[in-house]
């Protein structure tokens, strides 16, 4: 089974391990992520002004070209997913804006592409029980704190993926992989997001609280579906350690990395050079 796949800019660069692990896990599960041709920027932020049509040009171009390649477009990065799915919602429900934007970018698109997140693919196409049957290295005893962040599930009505106030898709995945999900109140809070660019102190405060909350409830590591969350939660740990005596770090992995590992991958695949907090000791301690 092949799926048309939109990687997005970050998964080509800083978030490469997210992308590679996702592809590796796909092969193990019997599907191939096929990169869509001629993809452009997803738009990076969904415009909240009702008349800011120009901001829809870039994501609409992705949707139009994605449709030429197939009927389903799989995403991984939570930011791309959010922008593409919401833009697609506009294309599906607002004919006037669709005409205007597609006319401007000179593409044909009828709103008939389905934007599907990799997690939805696992849940709805593969199925978590089928996935559990393919696990070669169950994450026995590993306490995993799922970090949803702000964009993966919100807004509920447009993304229709899970309940943002009481989500379960990550928890179900963790259980399918044999691990133990850690419930913590900060799991769908803001990681600090783009604030890190001009007020890194504020962003670090956000991510520090999230990490502390997960650690307090016994998490061995966190998983995320967002490169920006990963950056804020993990890369900022260097500064946290400088500011705070006795700071204890915690690894933050992309969920695909944990998935690929459980499906038989090796710790070497984790590419720890890209991580600030080395996940190997805690994983090795659990016999992985």
């Amino acid at each position: 089974m092949n799926y048309t796949y939109f990687p997005g800019c970050t998964l080509y660069t800083k978030g490469k391990s997210f992308d590679e692990a996702g592809k590796r896990a796909g092969e193990k599960l019997g599907f191939t992520l096929e990169e869509m041709p001629y993809w452009t920027c997803c738009g990076a932020t969904f415009p909240l002004a009702e008349d800011n049509d120009i901001a829809l040009a870039s994501p609409t171009r992705v949707l139009a070209r994605g449709r030429q390649a197939g009927e389903t477009l799989v995403t991984l990065c939570a930011v791309c997913h959010n922008v593409l799915k919401r833009t697609n919602h506009v294309m599906k429900t607002n004919g006037e804006r669709r005409e205007k934007v597609t006319g401007f970018i000179e593409e044909t698109y009828q709103g008939d592409l389905e934007v599907v997140h990799y997690l939805e693919l696992l849940r709805d196409e593969i199925g978590f029980s089928a996935l559990a049957a393919k696990v070669e290295k169950p994450l026995m005893g590993l306490k995993v704190a799922p970090f949803y962040g702000c964009l993966l599930l919100r807004p509920k009505a447009e993304l229709q993926m899970d309940d943002p106030d009481n989500p379960s898709i990550f928890e179900d995945l963790i259980r399918a992989l044999g691990g133990e999900p850690v419930d913590f109140p900060m799991k769908a809070e803001c990681c600090g997001a783009f604030q890190v660019v001009h007020s890194d102190a504020m962003a670090t405060r956000c991510s520090r609280e999230i990490i502390a909350s997960a650690q307090k409830r016994g998490a061995d590591l966190l998983i995320t579906a967002c490169p920006l969350c990963q950056f804020n939660l993990e890369d900022r740990q260097g500064e946290m350690a400088q500011a705070e005596q006795g700071f204890k770090g915690v690894p933050v992995l992309y969920f695909t990395q944990l998935l690929a590992l459980a499906l038989g991958g090796s710790l070497e695949d984790l590419d720890v050079s890209r991580h600030h907090a080395d996940p190997r000791p805690v994983l090795a301690a659990k016999g992985l």
Partner: protein, 439 residues
């Protein structure tokens, strides 16, 4: 004319139904009152003290429930429901379902031995709102009218497992009937007053507040039960989770109200007052405690209400924060409340011991079905639709059927009583017109 005394059916035995029934009874009409709970009194039975005077709800209510029970012109059907209405204005036949009490009320003397000896404590009884227990055979209050118990079939050991029968053993008159069947009776009436009251919007609709699963986050009725001298804690405010006295409480107003995007668009009208009251009652009981109230704005527009509010904000040592609460979660044995002070623009975090949510008022869930049975319309929010917003608020589109109290829209006790008397009065106008027509 089916009945020469021109009988009126009153559905609902809360303060609205009682008021209308006593008015009509005093005017010489026979009243058939149907109440779905085992005794009359309605929501007011659950309340502690009432605003703006802080006098005891029972003290206001009990003389009226007693009068209802003893009135020569009022025929009571409690623990009963209206299931069918046939005929037309002036000559209705109503079918009433009498639910299984498992107690022969003719024999029962109301001695209370069964309640005392019953070994099963039930926390799920809706009357105690999750903060107190009732036995599996119970009356709603010590002053219940009628003072007859019912068996909670979902929790009674004998009905579930065939073992126990303690109540049957201790009953001195042999009134326990485990094999009782429900019965149906029919009554002839000329007019109908519907006064079925309200419920609170369910806490499990609030994702950001933990879907009602965070211990020590309770709704306004639970707080009423905790404050009530005849309640499960005898008037002590104690946390449901561990029974400790809360040092820090948070009251959140407009929960589920005034939120057209997610919940109910309307203002529930009574929450500003009862939230202030809850905070004050708490402070009166625990002088060193802290009460923080989150509000959007304060709408206290009844007689004496503004004065009550002024006192609350200035003299009672309450902390009023203008802003909404975005998230509630449990951390250790505390309930963490994240909100915003919109006057200063600062985020606020309170580590509370107890959180009280002033939930939106909504019609009872059964109201939709009753509307269908009676053939009267409901509005977008499920309240009964009045014939005219300004000059016909007790009339329905249907001649001879009137509405009173919160089943038509949110209102406080004083307004409910006035509304109920208006409904009784309009019903009498209708009956008098019938008499003249017949003459």
């Amino acid at each position: 004319m089916a009945h020469d005394k021109q009988r009126v059916l009153v559905i609902g035995g809360g303060i609205a139904g009682i008021t209308a029934a006593v008015d009509l009874g005093d005017a010489g009409h026979e009243v058939v009152m149907v109440e779905r709970l085992p005794s009359v009194g309605g929501r007011m039975l659950q309340l502690s003290e009432t605003f703006p005077t802080l006098d005891c709800a029972q003290c206001t209510l009990t003389p009226r429930t007693v009068e209802t029970g003893q009135h020569p012109n009022i025929k009571l059907y409690t623990y009963s429901e209206v299931v069918k209405l046939e005929g037309g204005p002036g000559a209705y036949t109503v079918t009433i379902r009498r639910k299984k009490a498992y107690v022969d009320w003719q024999k029962c003397t109301g001695c209370g031995a069964c309640q005392e000896k019953c070994p099963t404590k039930v926390r799920q009884n809706p009357f105690e709102r999750g903060v107190g227990v009732k036995k599996a055979i119970y009356t709603l209050s010590p002053q219940a009218v009628p003072n007859k118990p019912i068996i909670d079939a979902d929790h009674c050991r004998y009905l579930l497992h065939g073992k126990c029968a303690v109540c049957a053993q201790v009953c001195p008159v042999g009134a326990i009937v485990y094999e009782q069947e429900e019965t149906f009776v029919q009554e002839e009436v000329a007019a109908v007053i519907v006064a079925t009251g309200f419920d609170l919007y369910p806490m499990d609709a609030l994702g950001e507040y933990g879907y009602g699963t965070v211990p020590d986050v309770i709704d306004g009725f639970a707080m009423e039960r905790l404050c009530s001298a005849s309640g499960p804690t005898a008037g002590r405010v104690l946390r449901p989770s561990d029974g400790r006295e809360p040092r820090d409480i948070v009251v959140i107003q407009c929960v589920g109200s005034r939120d057209p995007e997610h919940h109910k668009a309307y203002c529930s009208r009574i929450c500003c007052m009862y939230s202030a009251k809850h905070a004050r009652l708490y402070k009166h009981k625990l002088h060193h405690g802290r009460a923080t109230l989150f509000y959007m704005d304060l709408r206290c527009t009844g007689k004496g209400y503004e004065e009550f509010l002024q006192q609350s904000t200035e003299e009672e040592g309450l902390v009023y924060v203008r802003g909404r609460v975005s998230k509630i979660f449990r951390e250790g044995d505390k309930v963490v409340v994240w909100g915003t002070d919109t006057l200063s623009g600062q985020p606020v975090e309170v580590e509370a011991d107890l959180v009280v949510l002033a939930m939106a008022l909504v019609p009872n869930p059964e109201q939709v079905e009753l509307a269908r049975v009676l053939g009267i319309p409901v509005d977008d929010n499920g309240f009964f639709r009045e014939a005219h917003y300004k000059v016909g608020s007790v009339d329905t589109g249907c001649e001879g059927i009137f509405v009173a109290g919160c089943c038509q829209g949110s209102r406080d006790i004083a307004d409910t009583v006035a509304h109920a008397s208006a409904a009784a009065s309009k019903a009498q106008v209708f009956l008098s017109r019938l008499r003249r027509r017949a003459a």
